[in-house]
Amino acid sequence: MTALPPPPQPTASPLPPPVLAPAATVSALPALTGMIAVNDVSKFFGSVVAVSDVRFAIDGGVTALLGPNGAGKSTLFRMMCGLTPASRGTVRVLGADPRTDRDVRGRIALVPQQDALFDHLDAHGMVLIAAQTHGVDDPEGTARWALEQVDLTDVGDKPVGKFSKGMRQRVKVASALVNDPDVLILDEPLTGLDPVQRRRMIALFHRLGDAGRCVLVSSHVLDEVARLGSRVLVIAQGRLVATGDYRDLRALMDDRPLRIRLAVSDPRRMAAALVERGLATAVSVEAERLTLDTLDADALGRTVAPLAIELGVRLTEVSPLDDDLESVFRYLVEGR
């Protein structure tokens, strides 16, 4: 995992709190190239900085854009699709400006985060409109093919307005496939899908990535990112805070203290035993609950159940309190 902003660091490490880099410093860097090239891009909405000096380039394959809600993921995606201009910096998709280049818009597909569809249309009608407005050959056949990819061939003529959230997501993904895009940008596409559909959708993304498509998927759920791909961009507070391999991110997480809650019949005894074994750096006890900080979650996980048996205490719950993305971002951005 490589921490940002420049200069890039060779190993994973948390960043200091973000500081807006002066434009002159940033623009001195050479322009990045790739299927998607984002060079020193900022976006302001009035006095609000939604995206700040973001710089990266990606090529074919699946890349995950990871960030908590409100981090600037959707704004970044909108700029990549030309839906809104960058306030500063340049966005190039397939070497062109997606906001002004009509041809490149035919090679991009977006699955927007918002749950908006032409609700009066059925699934086939919705995807057919997408195919027709992309000017593809055989729009009818293409629409059927796209619906097959997301398992929506047998939904009849029910309007998409009456679909479940997961089905609507699949309609959006099918609509994004019709032009066989070189660049596929998916904003939280797994929201609302059941586990089977998630698995199938992730497999589809990988298949597209393996075929050389540039597939960029955003998520705020860490476990999803683990399955999406090894390449990760991490964005927080509008800034790109880390890029690199997911496994490095995971390792980085493993290095930070984790807070765990145990529900045990004798928390004091359990706490003493864990501290004695060096598995807890801090503990607090309340009724039958023990909250502890650990630097080695894996060892704790292996030890806690046998230890409970050994001590003769009843263990009914082990739950991480901060194994969420926000805590990872806090660690990456603020070092705590």
């Binding site: 839906l83 041809d103 035919g106 032409f118 407005t133 992309h134 000017g135 593809v136």
Partner: protein, 256 residues
């Protein structure tokens, strides 16, 4: 740059292409027409327009003169019904797509912008024309004051619809609260300020429709002294200009 290979589609990978403008107009027209067609909206606006028909019938039953009939058509039909109906459909043509965030499905496509605006404009015209013209022309007939008012109502109605729909389509592209601004234009600008003098009145579409009524019927209405040619050409130029500006604006629009 990574090599991109075809994925397993039933047919070969489609040729990259842009959508011809005519095809884009037809697609935008179809999508927007269906989006605009809501039963509640059509019923409410038809009932509003039918007020003019009832009033026309009442005038006819009371043997009212041509002057009263023209004032009814001008004061109710062209001051309220036509602009309000055009505002609802014209403003919503692209405004509703922006509001419900479905505009992205037309915007992020290899199409020019002007066909999208023209398609949306035509969809608004398709709905607003029958809802306004049929009741208004029927009202003119029911007044029983002659053929001049009927043809004047028809010509002025077509001109007004073309201009108002274009202006309000532009408003829907540009402003989120297009209904509020549109009503302000209809009620405050056209209904109040533009009546203040000939100079200001030339910036109100209503002046041109009144001039058509005056030209065809001979009835004397205030601030309605343009020739027939001017009364038709200027609103048409306004319509074309509004569509052109709307297309320019749509290309620079932030889309959600």
């Amino acid at each position: 740059m990574t090599t991109v290979e075809p994925i397993d589609r039933p047919s070969s990978r489609p040729t990259r292409r842009t959508v011809p403008d005519g095809r884009a107009i037809a697609l935008a027209y179809r999508v927007v027409l269906r989006q605009l067609t809501s039963v509640g909206r059509i019923v409410a606006l038809t009932l509003l327009a039918l007020v003019s028909t009832i009033a026309g019938f009442a005038l006819g039953a009371a043997d009212a003169d041509l002057d009263a009939a023209v004032r009814l058509i001008s004061g109710l039909g062209f001051a309220v019904i036509v602009p309000v109906v055009a505002l609802v459909f014209g403003g919503a043509a692209i405004g509703d797509l922006r509001e419900d965030k479905t505009l992205v499905y037309l915007w992020l496509r290899p199409v020019n912008r002007w066909p999208l605006v023209v398609g949306a404009y035509l969809a608004a015209l398709t709905l607003s024309a029958p809802i306004t013209l049929i009741p208004l022309v029927t009202a003119a007939i029911l007044t029983g004051t002659g053929g001049g008012i009927v043809s004047a109502t028809l010509i002025a109605g077509v001109v007004a619809l073309l201009a108002y729909n274009a202006v309000f389509t532009l408003l829907g592209i540009w402003l989120r609260r297009f209904i509020v601004w549109g009503l302000a234009y209809i009620l405050i600008w056209e209904g109040f300020i533009a009546l203040g003098g000939a100079g200001v009145a030339r910036f109100a579409i209503r002046k041109y429709t009144r001039s058509i009524l005056v030209d065809r019927t001979g009835v004397d209405l205030d601030l309605a002294d343009f020739s027939m040619t001017t009364s038709i050409v200027v609103p048409l130029v306004v319509a074309v200009g509004a569509v052109a500006i709307g297309s320019w604006r749509l290309a620079r629009q932030d889309v959600d």
